[in-house]
Symmetry: C2
DNA sequence: CTGTTAGCGCGTTCAG
DNA sequence: CTGAACGCGCTAACAG
């Protein structure tokens, strides 16, 4: 292996000069710079970043904890994170946690082991221990930020959208179309984000004086299959809903399939609205109305937040709320509407 | 920061003993082991893996180059890779290259910088320089493996499926149903994998003595939108095909939408078959027939391959071909078939 | 502007 | 079985 010493020898300078030339070329005379660069090329020297990181006591790496990378929603967020990271000479260590605490911990521990400088968490579990009831950020934690999800008690720096508002708008849209029997397929109950979406649903329903029927509240796990299963349950109800709000697009697409399999026509017999606006939403039949989230920007912003924390040391207390947008396509219509010859 | 020195001081032993206790506990007397472990807990010592890696001259990290992480197909492969990596104390550095050579190089360079020990490439571009016409693996390359894609000339260790065979089977299925006017929406032309799929298509058509019409050969970029656009072109042809084979499911789903928008009924007016069997394929309308690839296993196997190369040093020459499977759902039917009242 | 020196935290000899 | 000592490759002080 060719090291900085070899370069120094060949160029006839000290290793410190080589180091400087590479890190801060402007602080070196043009003549020596040329000598050094020539020597570098001649022997094919490449900086041993591992050694540099060790010396500088940081890794220029950020761990990203993803609950499930096969969920499309996260992919775009990761893309945003990765883009900003790359621009700033940071690397992304990917942790697909599958919500398994052992894995969450294992990845978070990489920071104490100096393999990473900070942790970005896309799921809802905080991978560090904290005293129940604690209301402030633990100063012992490494730079830490969340995206999409947030923590109920601790002011973790977070980038997200206004889930209550977005959810309320989605339901309001169904109400505006004339629906009152509106069911909600939410995500896992232990998620603050889902709490908020539920709250938005409740607000809209209450404000419209629409009936709140507890059997219309179901929850899946954000997968296609769970959307399908929940919808089957809803369709078996004697008081069948006429509209369906799903906490993500996957479940909405699962719901569409369940409706079709039950012989319902869409959107005539059932209006469905999703959440996220993944690419597939514009390619369903009928095209899925949904709430758009700026996924790339969420990722970019949370990485920017992380960079700021890394640079300035210590945790910020930002809570960045990015704008969402109701995207109306074809899957929502007034109740009982029949579009002749259009949708099966 | 608490280092191994602190532990040694507290336990009243030398740092060498602490190091040994942590790495090879069986080589230390039980008494000292207890002393050391107690000291470790007492002061909350965590091994500085960065320092260890530096010393051991390896990072226990593998770079994974992904052309586009927002393509669902890759997500499952990454999951497979990550699972095996995690089990073996390896980390995954994620490189979303977007096929940009600069990024591919930047990530591959992490190996020469000792930030990573090997590179797994899911795309088709090799991120190292090689002499055109070279037929052997360059001994200067770091441990390197590909999944899904492969290289035409150089025997890079690869895990994939039999794309020629799989493609041929898919087309054969359409032929068996009675189709002869079968169009093909392929992926990018410069991809060996797509070459193979085209070859499979050609073989099946030739064997069946079906007409090969060059205007039925189109290529997209694996996105929903490109599937849609290609299909629009195909539908505008005077010699319109009755069946469509798409090189991935996304394009097939785009194709379905284009057909519906053109007023065709599915599968009556157009049979469509995809490739990959992503989760959404079972939730389209009609459900998409496709070729299943064992994505998780591909990822697992390629990581196993990488581990083997890392352990034994030097590159293997394995080419692992995993089994695929034709999955027949609802999107393929005999030409002109009308299923009354079923599909819009 | 450049060179000398002193480590970063750990693993690994080699004596004892 | 244990400890002293060295050095991995690099950067950061400081002195010149």
């Amino acid at each position: 292996m060719v090291t900085i010493k070899d370069v120094a020898r060949i160029a006839g300078v000290s290793i410190a000069t080589v180091s400087r030339t590479l890190a801060e070329p402007e602080k070196v005379s043009e003549k020596t710079r040329e000598k050094v660069m020539k020597a570098v090329e001649q022997c094919g020297y490449v900086t041993n970043t591992l050694a540099r990181n060790f010396r500088r006591r940081r890794s220029n790496t950020v761990v990203v904890l993803v609950p499930d990378i096969s969920n499309l929603f996260f992919a775009n967020i990761i893309q945003g994170i990765e883009g900003v990271a790359h621009q700033n000479q940071y690397r992304i260590l990917l942790g697909d946690t599958q919500q398994i605490p052992e894995r969450e911990r294992a990845y978070a521990d990489l920071v104490s082991q100096r393999q990473a400088d900070g942790v970005i968490c896309l799921g809802r579990n905080i991978p560090f221990t904290y005293r129940k009831g604690r209301k402030t950020l633990d100063p012992d934690w490494p730079p830490f930020a969340m995206a999409c999800e947030y923590h109920g008690e601790i002011p973790v720096p977070t980038v997200c959208i206004d889930n209550i508002g977005a959810s309320q708008e989605a339901v309001q849209h169904l109400l505006d179309l004339g629906h009152t029997r509106i069911a909600f397929i939410n995500g896992p109950a232990d998620s603050p984000l889902c709490d908020d979406r539920l709250q938005g649903y409740r607000r809209a329903m209450k404000r419209a004086k629409a009936p709140l029927n507890s059997s219309w509240l179901t929850s899946g796990d954000f997968t296609l299959a769970s959307g399908y299963a929940c919808t089957q349950d809803l369709l078996a109800l004697s008081q069948r809903p006429t509209a369906l709000f799903c906490a993500n697009d996957e479940m909405a697409i699962g719901a569409m399939q369940a409706c079709r399999d039950a012989g319902l026509s869409l959107p005539g017999d059932m209006s469905i609205i999703g959440f996220d606006d993944i690419a597939f939403a514009a390619y369903t039949h009928p095209r899925l109305s949904t709430v758009h989230q700026p996924r790339n920007r969420i990722g970019e912003q949370v990485m920017q937040l992380m960079l700021k924390m890394l640079k300035e040391g210590g945790a910020g207390e930002t809570r960045l709320v990015l704008p969402h947008e109701l995207v109306l396509r074809e899957s929502t219509a007034p109740p009982g509407l029949v579009i002749p010859g259009r949708y099966g």
